[in-house]
């Protein structure tokens, strides 16, 4: 698909953001998104299906989100499309957790 992910040669992206001494993950949620994606690779979703899922993020969102936000989008899209979890269950669990905090 001719999505924003196909960005070879695009202009206007600014300087390369070189971050010295960067950690592997910048937060616990990044680590968890990565690990949940890895743990569903192959057994639930071929890796190319997860790549394609991140490309299906709406272009404006794709270009304004961070790397692991796009992974989160792909994970959520695939688990809901394959009926492993429903969107309503996710929203309900978010509300429950928010109340508990």
């Amino acid at each position: 698909m001719n999505g924003p992910h196909d960005m070879g040669g695009m202009h206007g992206m600014g300087p390369i953001p070189i971050e010295p001494d960067e950690p592997v993950f910048h937060s616990e949620w990044e680590a968890k998104v990565f690990a949940m994606s890895f743990a569903t690779f192959c057994n639930f979703f071929p890796v190319d299906e997860t790549r394609h899922a991140s490309e299906r993020m709406p272009p404006g969102d794709y270009l304004s989100s961070a790397y692991y936000e796009r992974w989160l989008y792909a994970l959520e899209l695939l688990i809901t499309e394959h009926n492993l979890v429903t969107p309503a269950e996710i929203e309900q669990r978010i509300a429950e957790l928010a109340q508990g905090e």
Binding site: M1, G9, T40, N43, F44, P46, D48, E49
Partner: protein
């Protein structure tokens, strides 16, 4: 032939196996490769609305086969869970000026791995 997955929860042992061994993406084909190193090829002009590993910036461009990498499963169909569709993958060299015009360095090149379904003979 849709791609089926086991839908099993990944165990620690399976994760360790994957971390150490990965996933073999090679496939098998009875056909010989269409192209050999040194052959001139043109990438297809195509705009599928589905998944493809042929980026826009190399579509419709003339390149040279640098190496025949062997047979691999085809991501463009795997990404839609359609079929493994194994085929040859070639490393293809493009002059930077073929891709980007005369402003690019006349010395520089781009190398990219493309599948049979991405290429036409010239």
């Amino acid at each position: 032939m849709a791609i089926e997955t086991s839908n099993e929860c990944m165990t620690v042992a399976h994760a360790q196996y994957l971390l150490q061994n990965g996933v073999d993406c090679r496939g098998v084909s009875d056909d010989p490769p269409q192209f050999q190193a040194g052959d001139r090829v043109r990438t297809k002009v195509m705009h599928p609305i589905t998944y493809t590993r042929l980026p826009r910036y190399v579509r419709g461009k003339m390149g040279t086969i640098a190496k025949v990498n062997g047979v691999y499963v085809f991501p463009d169909t795997m990404g839609q869970r359609l079929a493994t569709k194994p085929q040859y993958v070639y490393n293809v060299r493009f002059a930077a000026q073929e891709l980007w015009g005369p402003d690019a360095s006349p010395r520089d090149c781009l190398y990219i791995d493309l599948f049979d379904d991405h290429l036409d003979a010239t």
